[in-house]
């Protein structure tokens, strides 16, 4: 049974936010109206979070892509009163949109604040809904949503592998963000497969987990930026 995880190499990440746009395009995420975005209601399943430190001229701005971390012990699934969010045996924290009653308890329980809520009916003006991905359902208003590790792609990959009578290979199932990353800073795969890239990277000395002390056991791992050590 694979345990799906992601590794994001912050040394290679360019902060371009292609992952943000790719995710929104793949998952039919509506764009909040500009005023709503200004009032803090932008919907993004993955976002780039800045950490600004230091004093001029030694200023450091770190940019951290933050999807749902698909924790192994997620604080969010415990609190849903209607079991609209739970964790699959393969480790994906799934969201059942048709069951969610929109109480937003899970959004408040997540310490990383990665969950978002449809405050209004999602709208795509004109013919913009033509570009909708048929593999991802459209959410109504009043429902919580979040990054699903592009779970629909896993289903499709499994079906294809089954049709071709072979097991799922590394690289068959890749979320949209990982697929588009121009610097190839994101890796995805089975953390429990010792031969996979993510498994290898998870043992790197540069690995850290966000808010590790909370015991959420996130399956999105980060590789710290590191530094140059050439000749001066």
């Amino acid at each position: 049974m694979p345990r799906w995880g992601m590794v994001i190499d912050l040394a290679k990440c360019s902060g371009c936010q292609a992952c943000v746009v790719a995710c929104a395009a793949e998952n039919n995420v509506p764009c909040a109206e500009p005023d709503e975005a200004g009032r803090g209601r932008a919907l993004t399943w993955i976002k780039v979070v800045p950490f600004v430190e230091g004093e001029f001229p030694h200023v450091k701005v770190r940019l951290l892509p933050l999807p749902c971390l698909h924790c192994d012990t997620p604080p969010c699934i415990k609190v849903c009163p209607v079991d609209a969010t739970n964790i699959t045996p393969e480790g994906i924290v799934r969201q059942i949109f048709s069951r969610c009653i929109g109480c937003r308890y899970c959004t408040n329980a997540c310490p990383y604040t990665v969950r978002v809520f449809n405050w209004r009916k999602p709208e795509w003006p004109g013919e913009m809904d033509t570009a909708h991905n048929p593999d991802v359902s459209l959410r109504p208003k009043g429902v919580v949503e979040k990054c699903t590790f592009c779970h629909h792609r896993l289903q499709k990959a499994k079906e294809e592998a089954r049709a071709q009578n072979r097991p799922l290979a590394e690289g068959d199932y890749v979320p949209a963000c990982v697929e588009t990353c121009p610097t190839q800073a994101m890796y995805f795969g089975d953390l429990d497969d010792p031969m996979s890239k993510v498994s290898e990277l998870s043992r790197s000395p540069r690995v850290f987990r966000l808010l590790e002390e909370l015991g959420t056991h996130p399956k999105v791992l980060y590789l710290a930026e590191g530094e140059w050590s050439g000749k001066t």
């Binding site: 360019s14 001029f56 940019l63 048709s98 913009m128 000749k231």
Partner: protein, 837 residues
């Protein structure tokens, strides 16, 4: 008891085990089936968009000049997702946010639906720019256009027709130029302008017209002078892949040093940020040259063999000229450079030593992005650093884009310089001379002054010059003087207001095209674009329109363009690649290695055997390229009078001599030295000719330097129309959808300005009300505004939103001491004051 079944024995124990297991399994699955069925029911209640047969179309992105390969997933008739083409050598499957957002352009609700013309009432009411449109059919539009063009031609003034185009090098520019040549006009002007500091430096120091290229991923040390490598410089995804290679976990990491007044995303991700005073990049570069030269860390071999003007030299008339070494050692001592640039001496020393100690080291700049052009002397100073280290024509070094197959051979387009075409009116931009000046400027000058001749008609394609014009009012006044303006556009923008005829153009996802090699990519490459969906609404590709016009205008024009559809032009150009008899289709990286090996050994074994096959395969794989780069073709790379890299540009010296001759005076040697060698040209009032600098000495009144900068999502200012891109503008400050001005917290506190409060930003030209954001990543005397918002006219998401920093820029008259490529300096020579609103 054994039950035999065709030879396979099944013992009772095994049978019972199996049966027990099967029943248990069935029962368990029954349980899960029950659980699953409620989940299945829940999932079935969810709404899905319509499905359909799936199709994957390879094409080339044209959201920016980067030229990445895309594969678009289509479901039924709908394009639903953009992915990268893993076979395309430029991006190998990666896509930047602009590419990912392109479907929002394809299905944009505000697309122009049909040809429009300014209502006949409009001149009565308020003239052009009043936005009262009348729809007309394509038939009528073509008739109108051909009548106007015919009339101009018959009056013998066809040279007064100019095309201003934002199209990438490829089939469209070639077609435009062919059309214009046959029509009788030399005026194909491209935006962003010809006055790119980098290409100007390449021309004057290397004598080449082709763009420079770089073997980025193999560089061990990259010193970037303001070049926003991760935010749209050159070919964005290509750069990002190189950055990924610099930071690859295995092996030694390459160092990226970003020299800029502001902590951009590139600077934030770089290994080191050097905060430098605005406009002093050239001084720093020459300070580093000082370190390299004075400490003897230069590549003496390369300097001796392949450069000219490093040492002092005597010309044919016996005149002695100072060389680069003399200039640097005399004028760019470190404490003076530190004083000028605000970079400490220790840092300059260290940078110089690191640059020398980590070969191959690349210096890049000073062109910041894709819109702001950089300056001639800034770029020359930066290139000099590469020359000092001899980092040309080797892995990790400066290369020259190979020309590649002549796909426009049949078009017969050649560059004509003014001299060759005796008797014919000269091109407005000096046939793309590097000294010609900004295309929009040149156009405005001709329209307003009538010099060298007035403009009879202007055709715009994929261009929004009104937005970018630093002197917006002047440009608009110039447009008013042009009797007939046609604009091919997909969405309304600041310039469409001024057209007489507005023709809906399709997006790049609906058209054919064959693009050339993207900027800074060191290979000959041809990327194919093909329609992912048919052209939407009433849009028609300008290529098709030109061909239709040619037929209507008849005569030599029809003969020069014997095609019905632009697709045929593209196909023909693609098939011409076949006659080059080299190169390969896009393939995997493994194939790339194999193909390069073959080529180096002098073999050629492509996947196609006829031109037709090539065409079919290109449609599947996305394009063609020549994977090998032949290092060391010095004759190709240096085509100056000396045949070497010229620190002292003899081409510039020729201009000085010609000027002196026409003024019947002796050439000013001191000035000559300045103009022919890389040097620091100050922005504000420190030079002898202050006349061209309106803000000179105004520090008391306007204490801040305004720094407009490009960001990746807004790219060449088109991103503002797309919500996906508006949502990701300023990730370091959580800014989206609106403009903001960054100010250093110290400076803000002194003025009593809180983070997020409204302020007046005032230059001596105009003022604007904006929200101020505290940002530590700025030199305290600098305030910064992102470029790309503040469209007066646009789609629903871009119109009236934000502030356009171009409108704050003080339109300076040109400093005669500095050739027009110094137009780049104009972006940064405005001072402003900030006050609470």
């Amino acid at each position: 008891m054994k039950v035999r079944n065709g030879g396979i024995g099944v013992s009772r124990r095994n049978f019972l085990r199996f049966a027990a297991g099967a029943s248990a399994g069935t029962a368990a699955s029954g349980l899960t089936v029950k659980g699953m069925s409620s989940l299945a029911q829940a999932l079935a209640e969810e709404k899905r968009p319509p499905g359909g047969p799936e199709r994957w179309v390879a094409t080339t992105c044209q959201a920016c000049p980067g030229g990445c390969g895309l594969v678009v997933r289509c479901v039924g008739k709908r394009a639903v997702k953009i992915l990268g083409n893993p076979l395309h050598p430029v991006n190998r499957g990666g896509v930047c946010p602009k590419g990912q957002a392109a479907l929002q352009l394809l299905y944009h609700p505000d697309r122009l639906l049909e040809p429009l013309r300014q209502s006949r009432l409009a001149p009565i009411l308020s003239g052009r720019g009043s936005r009262r449109w009348e729809a007309l059919s394509w038939e009528e539009a073509l008739k109108l256009m051909s009548e106007k063009l015919q009339a101009i031609r018959q009056a013998g003034r066809s040279h007064g027709v100019a095309v201003l185009s934002g199209a990438r090098p490829g089939a469209m520019p070639d077609l435009w130029q062919r059309f214009l040549a046959a029509y009788g006009s030399p005026n194909y002007l491209s935006l962003p302008g010809t006055t790119d500091g980098s290409s100007a430096a390449a021309y004057f120091m290397q004598g080449v017209h082709e763009p420079l290229a770089y073997d980025l991923k193999n560089a061990s040390y990259v010193l970037s002078f303001g070049a926003n490598l991760l935010e749209g410089w050159g070919s964005p995804v290509h750069l990002m892949r190189a950055f990924g290679a610099w930071r690859a976990a295995e092996g030694q990491r390459s160092k990226l040093v970003q020299v800029s007044p502001r902590l951009s995303v590139t600077a934030a991700k770089a290994d080191e940020w050097v905060p430098i005073r605005v406009g002093t990049e050239a001084a720093l570069a020459l300070g580093i040259a000082y370190v390299l030269i004075s400490e003897g860390r230069v590549d003496a071999n390369f300097l001796a063999q392949h450069t000219f003007g490093f040492d002092d030299w005597t010309d044919t008339s016996g005149q002695r000229h100072a060389g680069f070494r003399t200039l640097v050692l005399r004028d760019y001592r470190l404490n003076e450079v530190a004083e000028l640039t605000g970079v400490p001496v220790e840092t300059i020393l260290r940078l110089g030593r690191e640059f020398a100690a980590n070969p191959p080291a690349l210096a890049l700049g000073d062109k910041p992005g894709s819109v702001q052009p950089g300056t001639l002397y800034g770029s020359m100073a930066v290139e000099s650093l590469n020359a000092l280290m001899g980092n040309f024509e080797q892995p990790g070094g400066v290369l020259l884009q190979p020309e590649g197959p002549r796909t426009a051979g049949w078009l017969g387009v050649r560059h004509h310089s003014a001299g060759e075409q005796a008797g014919r009116p000269p091109a407005l931009d000096g046939s793309r001379s590097p000294l010609a000046g900004d295309a929009a400027d040149v156009l405005a000058e001709a329209a307003l002054e009538g010099k060298p001749y007035p403009i009879e008609a202007l055709i715009l394609h994929d261009a929004n010059p009104v937005y970018l014009a630093p002197d917006r009012d002047r440009f608009i006044a110039a447009l008013a003087k042009i009797p007939f303006i046609v604009d091919f556009a997909t969405l309304p923008d600041d310039t469409t207001d001024f057209a007489d005829l507005l023709l809906p153009a399709p997006t790049f996802l609906e058209t054919w095209d064959l693009s050339g090699t993207p900027p800074v990519v060191p290979r000959a490459l041809r990327g194919l674009s093909q329609p992912v969906v048919p052209a939407r609404h009433g849009s028609r590709h300008p290529g098709d329109v030109i061909l239709a016009l040619a037929k209507r205008l008849g005569g030599p024009l029809a003969g020069a363009l014997p095609f019905d559809r632009f697709e045929q032009v593209v196909k023909r150009s693609a098939q011409d690649i076949f006659s080059a008899q080299r190169g390969y289709l896009f393939g995997t990286q493994l194939e790339e290695v194999w193909d390069k090996l073959l080529e180096k050994s002098g073999w050629w074994a492509p996947d196609y055997s006829t031109a037709d096959e090539l065409w079919q395969q290109m449609k599947e794989k996305g394009g063609w390229w020549d994977p090998a780069y032949h290092y060391g073709e010095w004759g190709r790379v240096f085509r100056t009078p000396s045949g070497k890299f010229e620190f002292f540009s003899q081409l510039l010296w020729r201009d000085i001599l010609a000027e002196a001759r026409s003024n019947a005076a002796k050439p000013d040697l001191v000035a000559a030295e300045r103009r022919c060698l890389p040097h620091f040209e100050p922005l504000f009032g420190a030079s002898a000719t202050d006349a061209g600098r309106p803000d000179a000495g105004n520090e008391a009144q306007f204490p801040f330097v305004l720094f407009p900068y490009e960001i990746l999502p807004l790219g060449e200012t088109r991103g503002a129309d797309l919500p996906f891109l508006q949502q990701i503008l300023g990730q370091h400050l959580f800014e989206r959808w609106e403009s903001w001005i960054e100010i250093h917290p110290e400076a803000a506190r002194r003025l009593g300005i809180e983070d997020g409060s409204w302020v007046w930003v005032e230059s001596s030209h105009r003022k604007a009300r904006m929200r101020a954001r505290w940002f530590l990543g700025l030199r305290p005397e600098v305030v910064a505004i992102p470029l790309g918002l503040g469209h007066r006219t646009g789609s629903r998401w871009s119109q009236g939103r934000g502030t356009n920093p171009c409108e704050l820029l003080v339109p300076g008259s040109r400093n005669p001491a500095e050739p027009p490529p110094g137009g780049g300096a104009r972006w940064f020579s405005t001072r402003v004051r900030i006050s609470r609103a």
